[in-house]
């Protein structure tokens, strides 16, 4: 970097006549930035400051925690785990063969409403130990194909479910192929309980990610049938189950919206669910649950935030308190010069 100045630029260094202007031009202009003298605020961790910070956090967090917890407690949730119950006794030891057989898989469940449930009541199915986030799985889709009919044969990213018998599959890929295919029918007091399956997916997905001119082709035509089949006459933008399913979950335990019940349910009302137990979670011991849940401003029933807030708030309160006690018991003057003993040779080796 310090290469010898070439002759060409030597004028500034050598000649006497350039000495005077050089003095001024080379002298840097004074500014607070160049002198590193920008006005700065230099906070230090005084006990007062730290204790009040922790106190403030606890004062803010505990009420929020309480509110969140209450919100979560307000949510009424009915969870019914059915994957074992819906297998006939004689198949209990060999559930995989049952699910793969052509046997009648209809199953009836009884759900009792514990508390008043305000509409809309969301119907979810919950899968456990299902890795929608597996790398092989999560990548196996073709967004361009879903969006636009013109690129219907763009299946390069869909391996191994890209084509059947040489024809491109629409929608291709493992995700679509393994579409969840259990169905639920609800009845209350022998009356059909209507489940609205419209607008259960994101509007943005219906409008922009799944084309209204893209029709399923060659779907579930292969030798190996995965999950649900799609009506080849309905465009993908209206196949909301598919759209919901294709929003892959990041966790191995997840709920997906099945539909909405748009009426209130009263306590002790009994709902009969007739379900088709088609989906194979038995080969990997996955659980299947049917969930009916109301919602709050925080979403579904989840105590985590409330508890975490209370814990953090409590801990902060405790810390603030103990800092205060320690400070009072063993006060220490900040910046006491007696801590500065330079007596020992600092450069000693």
């Amino acid at each position: 970097m310090s290469s010898y100045t070439p002759s060409s630029s030597a004028g500034g260094v050598g000649s006497a006549d350039s000495a005077a202007p050089r003095r001024n031009s080379k002298r840097p202009k004074y500014s607070k930035f160049t002198q590193q003298e920008l006005p700065a605020c230099k906070p230090i961790l005084t006990p007062r400051w730290v204790i009040s910070a922790f106190m403030l956090v606890s004062i803010v967090f505990i009420p929020i925690g309480v509110v969140s917890l209450l919100a979560s407690r307000d949510v009424v949730e009915i969870i019914d785990r059915y994957e074992t119950e819906c297998v006939p006794q004689n198949f209990r030891n060999n559930r995989v063969s049952f699910i793969q057989s052509d046997a009648n898989k209809t199953c009836t469940r009884r759900l009792t409403v514990t508390k008043h449930m305000k509409q809309p009541i969301y119907v979810y199915y919950q899968l456990d130990n299902f890795y929608q986030n597996h790398r092989r799985y999560v990548k196996s889709r073709s967004d361009s194909q879903l969006r636009d009919n013109s690129s219907w044969n763009d299946v390069s990213s869909c391996k191994p479910e890209d084509d059947s018998n040489g024809l491109p599959i629409v929608p291709c890929g493992l995700i679509a192929w393994s579409l969840f295919n259990d169905t639920y029918n609800f009845s209350l007091n022998n009356q059909q309980l209507a489940v609205n399956k419209r607008e259960i997916s994101w509007k943005s997905d219906r409008d922009h990610k799944f084309g209204n001119d893209v029709l399923p082709r060659n779907f579930q035509n292969g030798t190996l049938k995965g999950g649900k089949s799609l009506d080849p006459t309905v465009p993908l933008s209206q196949q909301e189950d598919l759209i919901v399913w294709m929003r892959t979950a990041a966790l191995p335990t997840f709920r997906k919206l099945y539909g909405k019940i748009e009426r209130d349910l009263q306590p002790n009302e009994v709902i009969h669910v007739t379900l088709e137990n088609n989906y194979n979670t038995y080969s990997f011991n996955g659980k299947k649950k049917l969930v009916l849940s109301t919602t709050s401003w925080l979403g579904g029933k989840n105590d985590f935030l409330g508890i975490a807030y209370l814990t953090i708030g409590g801990l902060c309160f405790f810390l603030a308190l103990s800092f205060t006690v320690v400070y009072l018991v063993k006060p220490r003057r900040l910046g006491d010069p007696s801590y500065l003993s330079w007596n020992r040779n600092p450069g000693g080796h």
Binding site: M1, Y4, P6, S7, S8, S9, A10, S15, A16, A19, R22, R23, P28, Y30, T34, Q35, Q36, L38, P39, A40, I44, F61, I64, Y131, N133, H134, R135, R136, Y137, V138, P160, E161, L174, W177, S178, W202, H208, K209, L224, R247, T248, A250, T253, F254, R255, N280, S283, F284, G299, G300, N302, L305, A308, L315, L319, F323, G335, P337, Y339, W342
Partner: protein, 1102 residues
């Protein structure tokens, strides 16, 4: 081996030698890309990233879009490449300017105006006054009837005086017009870079008959980049052109220096790399096991039963790619960026401008500022570094009579001169003419002296004040004005000063009586032994000793009358010696020796070299900061010790103790060394300043035979004085300390310090009177020694602190995101899924996290004043307390903790129906960004507006960027950010992450800060509280140099030094400061001669 330059033969040289096109460019348009890429890829880090980027092209294993690595990689490469390209373009422009400059060149016998780049070897180039010399020329004619011209060589060697150059004897008297047609051959060596040698021969062809081969020396050349001064015109033959000139050859690319911090960062990078490999292997194995046990059952994944042969490699490679972000790709760029800013801060610092010359400090090497904060040893030159190198004639002893010891002596001396005491007059005459000084009459009639050596300058000026004015030099005739009359001397020969001979002489002929005189001056040991037999030199030896103890530089003056034939005989030998091509210098020295003997010693002069302002304070402060000082000087032992005492280098008895290592033989040195070592071991526990003194001779023996013992001594001793050392010994000593793993800083001002400066970890050059040579070779150039304090304590320390934070933080932020990816892989079937999308990953390192940390270059943990008062705090930097494996472990732990916090909170708060992939990844990412902002805020010691802007603005920018991306329907995260920002749970999660992540960090930091504060913390507290500690400092704050300029006399004086001696002659602008003592000594002090005031102006102009 040799080149034959045919003068005025245009065609022949074209193929043989290059034209005069100067090129400093590293690249051409064509080779830029490959060459630059090759250079960049020769760095390990870049190779690593390239490998990662290539692996990412394999879609089977890449967890993310290859753009996430290629993007930053290309960005970083583009930044470095465009910086290179810009530098190269600027070099090209300046080359072009030089190449296209018009010069007068003789073509086909006619003078033509052509571009400098078209000059060929053998051309005759004409120069006018103040022209820059376009290539190396051999002079053949000048406007001066004696064939002399003056050149300024400062661009070449940094010496600002004018040098005389003359045409060779054969060319003497050739007519102006005939010069166009001159023909001949110059036999000269191939281009080399030695700017002090040019051993060549010239033979002219008929009609310029002279069959003799005429020797040429460097005196007959004018080299590229010099300036022609005080000469109307000159012309010369181009012998070396373009990049083959002396200047071009000495251009070199210095080896890049690696700072201790860089080494540490590399080490940590290596550790992270190993960690990464371990993680990859563990996860790879786990992934393969999971795949074979669990994944086969997950029918929807549809694993084929039989995979390809590389099946087992796929998952580990995927993890390798996933973990590659552990090593932050941006760290190199960030570091380069902040380092160049550190350097800029040094350049800009208005407190480090030398207001006498107006030269600001300059960081030539922008990459090593952190090392300044870690200096452990400072090796300093004495003359010009600690001292002003502004010589003032203080005392003299003429023939046993002392002048200058007590006040009134000057008058005595003046009277003696006036009284025409022959000894005194002879003495003063030697002072006036035994030199190479060039007097220049300015327009006002005042005489300015251009002197190569400051000693000569002092002597000539002193002589002038004693009314022996060296008035004019007209070719070989020297004019001396003495008491109104003019005495002329004819200068016959100059026997130049070399550091081996340690003396210089002139042979002059007194024009009045035709006597030939040899006048000499030199070091005592180079003069006194050669006194004629009858002379008692004992008094002189004592005087020299006495003066040296006062810290004065002594010169002995002597003369001898030569007989005519003795001179003639010798003159022939001298001519012969001067024209040899081999070992010329040695031959000349030998011949000179034959003349320089049988001296009549006239007396001894004592010249004081004043200490620079603030030297004792600077040394005291830096020694308090735990820096060890070694003084390496070529001066005499006594002088060195005196200077060392007066600048707090060593303490006087009884506090300090000086141990002497001397001896002429191996045995003596060995014994002496062992004795010193023993004393040193015993006293090392006592609070006593022990220093050892060694001279060049003993040092050579010690380094050769007792290296181990000497090394031990070097480690034990905090202070050392090495006198009479050669430049290469200086470099050896630096090397020795470096080999003991100490960070060394070498500071010097002269050409003899260059090797030491280049050898040391940090070289600092003082742009002083000995020229710019040292400053050019150095990494930093400063105007005054006292700026060293600020350079180290302020700039070095801040740079170290800032880089320590920046580098560790860079690893921290990369580790956080990488840990999250690793945790996520545990809940995604160890399959190597990336939680974050490609855009986020790419932007995370390059945008989201790099801006806030960059403003840490403005962070100041302690104010400059506090650091100056408590220089001991530098210990934290020296010992590397802020960046070492254990602090790094802290950051590593913090990143692990934060990753756990972000991950756990995210997957719990966004569980079940909310566990959508894109949303969850954005929640985790924003959690990281929030934590980053607070971590930077917590670690920042001083907030300026810019820091607030960067930290909080960055947080806002993160949302803005993501909103923009979320608005693009084609992007994967379309609408995600809007959706999240509408959810109360998102914000609640963020606050939770911040509180949970920062709470423990804050609590720990607070406890440490309050109950186990480091010294830095204590000082911070004291500073902010404004406690009494601020008054405890026992060093008065450095006066601001700005005030200095206004009133140059109000500078706080260094404490009065023990031996009070008054200036014998007040011939320096400084003298007024020094003579504040009682009893203004001299009468002519007030009536300062016009000359000295001119001199002072002269000084300033330089």
């Amino acid at each position: 081996m040799k080149r034959y330059v045919y003068i005025n033969e245009n065609e022949s040289s074209h193929e043989l030698y290059c034209d005069n096109r100067i090129s400093n460019r590293k690249y051409t348009v064509l080779n830029f890309l490959p060459k630059n890429l090759w250079e960049q890829f020769s760095r390990f880090m870049n190779q690593y990233f390239l490998l990662i980027a290539c692996l990412q092209l394999w879609s089977l294993i890449t967890p993310v879009n290859p753009a996430s690595t290629w993007g930053p990689l290309i960005f970083i490469f583009a930044v470095s490449a465009s910086k290179e390209a810009w530098d190269d373009y600027n070099r090209y422009l300046s080359d072009k300017k030089a190449n296209e400059k018009l010069v007068w060149v003789v073509r086909q016998g006619i003078r033509k105006h052509i571009q400098a780049q078209d000059i060929h070897v053998g051309n005759i180039v004409w120069l006018r006054e103040n022209d820059e010399v376009p290539c190396d020329l051999v002079l053949i004619g000048t406007s001066d009837p004696q064939g002399l011209c003056y050149v300024e060589t400062s661009a070449l060697d940094g010496e600002t005086d004018l040098k005389t150059r003359g045409i060779p004897a054969t060319c003497m008297g050739i007519d102006f017009e005939l010069l166009h047609k001159i023909k001949g051959v110059i036999e000269c060596p191939n281009p080399d870079k030695d700017i002090r040698r040019f051993d060549a021969n010239l033979r002219l062809f008929p009609p310029f008959i002279d069959n003799d081969v005429c020797p040429l020396t460097i005196k007959n050349t004018i080299l590229q980049s010099c300036y022609l001064r005080n000469t109307e015109w000159a012309c010369g033959v181009a012998v070396h052109t373009g990049n083959e000139t002396k200047l071009g050859m000495s251009r070199g690319i210095p080896e890049p220096k690696l700072t201790a911090m860089d080494a540490m960062i590399d080490k940590l990078t290596g550790a992270i790399f190993v960690f990464q490999i371990v993680v990859v292997m563990v996860l790879g194995i786990a992934g393969n096991v999971w795949k074979d046990t669990e994944a086969r059952k997950q029918w929807y994944v549809l694993y084929p039963l039989e995979g390809p042969w590389y099946e087992l490699l796929v998952i580990p490679l995927r993890f390798e790619l996933l973990c590659s972000i552990m090593i932050p790709i941006s760290i190199k760029v960030s570091l380069d960026l902040v380092k160049s800013l550190y350097a800029k801060f040094i350049d800009w610092d208005s407190e480090m401008i030398d207001y006498e010359t107006g030269i600001p400090s300059h960081a030539t090497n922008t990459a090593i500022s952190e090392d300044l904060g870690q200096v452990e040893y400072i090796m300093t030159d004495k003359t010009g570094t600690l001292t002003e190198n502004r010589m003032i004639f203080r005392r003299c002893c003429i023939n046993g009579v002392f002048y200058g010891n007590e006040s009134g002596d000057a008058l005595k001396l003046l009277n003696a001169v006036a009284g025409s005491s022959p000894d005194v007059i002879q003495f003063v005459t030697v002072m006036a003419i035994c030199n190479t000084v060039i007097p220049i009459k300015s327009k006002t009639g005042a005489i300015l002296y251009k002197a190569q050596s400051q000693d000569e300058d002092a002597l000539v000026n002193a002589a002038a004040q004693l009314h022996m004015v060296y008035a004019n030099k007209n070719a070989n005739i020297l004019e001396i004005r003495f008491n109104g009359s003019i005495i002329k001397y004819e200068l016959l020969e100059i026997l130049e000063f070399t550091s081996d001979r340690k003396r210089m002489s002139v042979v002059v002929k007194d024009c009045q009586n035709g006597k030939i005189l040899l006048l000499s001056k030199g070091a005592d040991e180079a003069i006194l032994p050669y006194a004629y037999d009858g002379q008692q030199t004992r008094t002189f030896i004592e005087v020299v000793e006495q003066y040296a103890q006062l810290g004065l530089r002594t010169l002995c003056l002597a003369w001898r009358e030569l007989k005519e034939d003795e001179y003639q005989e010798w003159s022939l030998m001298f001519k012969e010696a001067s024209s040899t091509l081999v070992d010329r210098e040695w031959r000349i020295a030998e011949v000179c020796q034959r003349l320089e003997h049988e001296f009549e010693v006239l007396g001894v002069t004592a010249i004081e070299d004043c200490l620079q302002d603030g030297v004792p304070e600077t040394i005291e402060t830096l020694r308090k900061a735990g820096i060890n000082f070694w003084m390496l000087t070529g001066d005499k032992q006594n002088t060195a010790i005196q200077i060392a005492l007066s600048c707090n280098f060593i303490s006087p008895e009884p506090k300090g103790q000086l141990l002497l290592i001397d001896g002429k033989t191996e045995d003596e040195v060995c014994r002496s060394l062992e004795r010193v070592l023993l004393t040193m071991r015993i006293t090392s526990s006592e609070p006593k300043d022990v220093a050892f003194v060694v001279d060049g001779w003993a040092l050579e023996i010690a380094l050769k035979h007792y290296r181990k013992a000497f090394t031990e001594l070097a480690i034990l001793s905090r202070t050392a004085i090495c006198c009479r050392v050669t430049p290469s010994q200086k470099a050896q000593l630096v090397e020795l300390l470096k080999s003991c793993d100490y960070r060394t800083l070498a500071i010097g001002d002269g050409g003899n310090d260059v090797r030491m400066i280049q050898q040391a970890d940090i070289g600092v050059g003082i742009s002083g009177r000995e020229g710019l040579q040292a400053a050019r070779a150095a990494d930093y150039s400063i105007g005054k020694f006292r700026f060293l304090k600020r350079l180290i304590l302020v700039h070095g320390r801040y740079s170290y602190n800032r880089t320590a934070f920046l580098s560790q933080y860079s690893f921290y932020k990369s580790l956080v995101i990488c840990f999250i990816q690793i945790f996520f892989s545990f809940i995604s079937g160890v399959s190597g899924t990336s939680l974050f999308n490609s855009v986020s990953l790419m932007a995370y390192n390059v945008f989201y996290t790099s801006v806030p940390v960059l403003v840490s270059v403005l962070d100041k943990d302690l104010s400059e004043g506090t650091v100056m008062q408590h220089p001991q705090i530098l210990f934290y930097c020296q010992a590397g307390r802020l960046l070492n494996p254990s602090t790094f472990a802290g950051w590593f732990g913090r990143s692990l903790f934060h990753a756990i916090i972000v991950f756990v909170i995210t997957i719990h708060a966004y569980a079940y129906e909310k566990s959508e992939m894109e949303e969850l990844s954005m929640v985790a990412l924003s959690g990281c960004i929030w934590l980053q902002a607070f971590v930077v805020a917590l670690e920042t010691n001083s907030f300026t507006v810019l820091q607030h802007l960067a930290i909080w603005g960055n947080l806002v920018a993160f949302y803005v960027i993501n909103w923009i991306i979320s608005a693009i329907p084609a992007s994967g995260m379309y609408t995600i950010m809007f959706r999240l920002c509408r959810q109360p749970s998102y914000w609640i999660t963020m606050f939770l992450i911040v509180a949970a992540g920062m709470g423990p960090v804050l609590a720990l930091k607070y406890l440490r800060y309050t109950y186990r504060p480091s010294k830095i913390n204590t000082l911070q507290q004291a500073e902010r509280m404004g406690g009494p500690i601020l008054t405890l400092g026992n060093i008065e704050p450095q006066p601001r140099s700005i005030e200095k300029e206004v009133s140059p006399l109000s500078i706080t004086q260094p404490k009065s030094r023990s031996p009070v001696y008054e200036p014998l002659l007040s011939d320096s602008p400084n003298s007024s400061r020094r003579s504040l003592g009682p009893g203004t000594p001299f009468d002519f002090f007030q009536l300062q001669s016009r000359l000295s005031s001119n001199y002072s102006r002269n000084c300033k102009d330089n």
